[in-house]
Symmetry: C2
Subunit: 415 residues, 2 copies
Amino acid sequence: MKIAILGYGTVGSAVVQFLLENQKLIRARCGKNITPVIALTRTPKKNALIPITQNIDEILNAEVDVFVELMGGVNETFKIVSEILKKKKAVVTANKAMLAYHRYELENLAKDIAFGYEASVAGGIPIIKVLKEGLSANNILTIKGILNGTSNFILSSMSEKNMSFKQALEKAQNLGYAEANPSFDIEGQDAAHKLLVLSSIAYNLKAKPENILIEGISQITPEDIYFANEFELTIKLLGIAKVRENKVELRVHPTMINKDTMLAKVEGVMNAISINGDLLGESLYYGAGAGGKATASAVISDLMDIAKDQAKTPMLGFVNTLEYKLLDKDEIYTKYYLRMKVEDKIGILSKITQLMSQNDISIDSFLQKPKKNDENYSTLFFTTHLTYEKSIQNLLKILDQQDFIKTKPFMMRIE
Amino acid sequence: MKIAILGYGTVGSAVVQFLLENQKLIRARCGKNITPVIALTRTPKKNALIPITQNIDEILNAEVDVFVELMGGVNETFKIVSEILKKKKAVVTANKAMLAYHRYELENLAKDIAFGYEASVAGGIPIIKVLKEGLSANNILTIKGILNGTSNFILSSMSEKNMSFKQALEKAQNLGYAEANPSFDIEGQDAAHKLLVLSSIAYNLKAKPENILIEGISQITPEDIYFANEFELTIKLLGIAKVRENKVELRVHPTMINKDTMLAKVEGVMNAISINGDLLGESLYYGAGAGGKATASAVISDLMDIAKDQAKTPMLGFVNTLEYKLLDKDEIYTKYYLRMKVEDKIGILSKITQLMSQNDISIDSFLQKPKKNDENYSTLFFTTHLTYEKSIQNLLKILDQQDFIKTKPFMMRIE
């Protein structure tokens, strides 16, 4: 089986390297040789292990069986991949952004053509296969995933090493875990793309990133970490899908979770996805969510499935008859954490709790730390019982208009 | 697709129940109806959801596409399954004992016939699929699995609730997690059967239970738990496969592992398998390892793969060209923990350490607790640096002959 590689960066070169290094193993395990014959690269490379070209047309006309797309990009790349599928050639991709926007168009084009995308979610963890095949007998009740290693590294560093967000981000950048412009990772976009891919397999949801609730971790302070520790909680950036009757909540945001859950124990740059199915109950999948070798593991396993002629089911797994709808953001129903800085005067707490009850929000726990001498405000921490997103958003709007509030209140959801 | 169920107990009835309850979902996800038409049962059942029979010949002659074997048993069942395969009918089984002894004969018989056995290892966790397909690009360096929920429940209870082994076993029996005769679970046989299945997919090892090192958890005392806690370790019954050059260690035994590993965090009856691949690094798979519903999840996913015509690769995954050999037990090379009760006399510690160094064993840590008033012996705890199994076994033999040793020394391996 001959393949062409589009994009010869970290992942592309790892794919080529290990197709060659593990050649004997790969043939033993899938019954065929898988041979990379040409790679597309933007910048010429010395010591490339296979012939390279900078000419996209040369790649597209190459006589190969499978195209591996590792270029990134959304609309331009979608056009190129569409062209390949129209030629009835199989595709393997790691491109979650393209899938977040174009997965249903791609599925239409890929009828009877193998289309692998294991590498698009959680790097080397075979979560696409698990969800599409391994758990296929289950109604999926919830998916909760640590889908972005950069954010998890930052939150772990803040929690274990008492760093500020800024210090932890700098550490991540120094170690190469975060990019110079980290917003795609830390503001939840990357995790949202992955959640959307998973939600299609589980629920046939056609949502795009702009349709769902996405919040990042940049507003989290050491005070939040302190509060979480006091109450046996841990803060993780989670992608969450949750069924309520015929509707599904989809959301990405920093989340307080119990310290004794398996997800809470996932540290550093690792990824993990917890899935709750009606038959299996909770199962969890943990591993490296990024990096050349880990991602190559997923790309090559997709290629091997194609070699075994075992990848012909519809790309998103026959879900087209499932009838779930996206739940409106306002209807999200969960517990909340609130942190606010207020004037240190008589009657403030009573005003706040009055505003809460007017919005149908009841308090589950409350913490006020003794004021330090040099501070002219008090910091209050609340957690609430289950309530609607709409109520909390309304409360936040009203609180923000109050004179006694010193800085914009910060809210985080609790699972 | 019509199926017959052989064995209508907890798992069999859950399979039938959920094939019916999740019928619409199953059709949506695999494109076919999967219909259970007849079940074999030893004892007549009231309220069976489908026709039942006590006559094996009636089942074997039923006009169905797939036979689901949930009877248990080794040789007799192997004969029945062989007969089915000779008729060119697909088989799905949860029977790890049969696979531990007959998997290679079954693979020979199942050429071009679908043979699913996801439910045989770790219940509903799709670990067979993960290893056979998801991680297929990887040389598997190690497999470390908590493969028996009963043992894990007992060890968790001993560790968290300060119970003795006997108390924890009784609790497990009261909760229905352990059988009246628990030896199959607590002495490591069950975990060994599962490890053997995994080792065939990863390494093409033809070993049988009697060829590998199997030790159970019944000799573990609260003192061992105490020591583990002191040194930030946790005790788990692990099935371990580990590559050393062209050879593979296979062993099942209670193991001390670092408290901060993901495996150490697996509590109660849950199962988890940590796999280290040369591309992916460590990944871990966690979930329910037993129970009717969880096991049915795996059985039905196998049936759905067959319905999708996606289960035609060789049963053990094309591994027949891999050339690993089983490592001799004596050559196992790891760290060890030793607990021994000795006379409280001058010079004893010096004698013990001399015997250790004569056997090329060097001490990594040592603990002696102050003797209580009513004790006429001292308890000593050691951990060693890396050494060979042969050396430790020799040391244990020599120690056992010494007058100053009050009870047979106890040894546990450390990872």
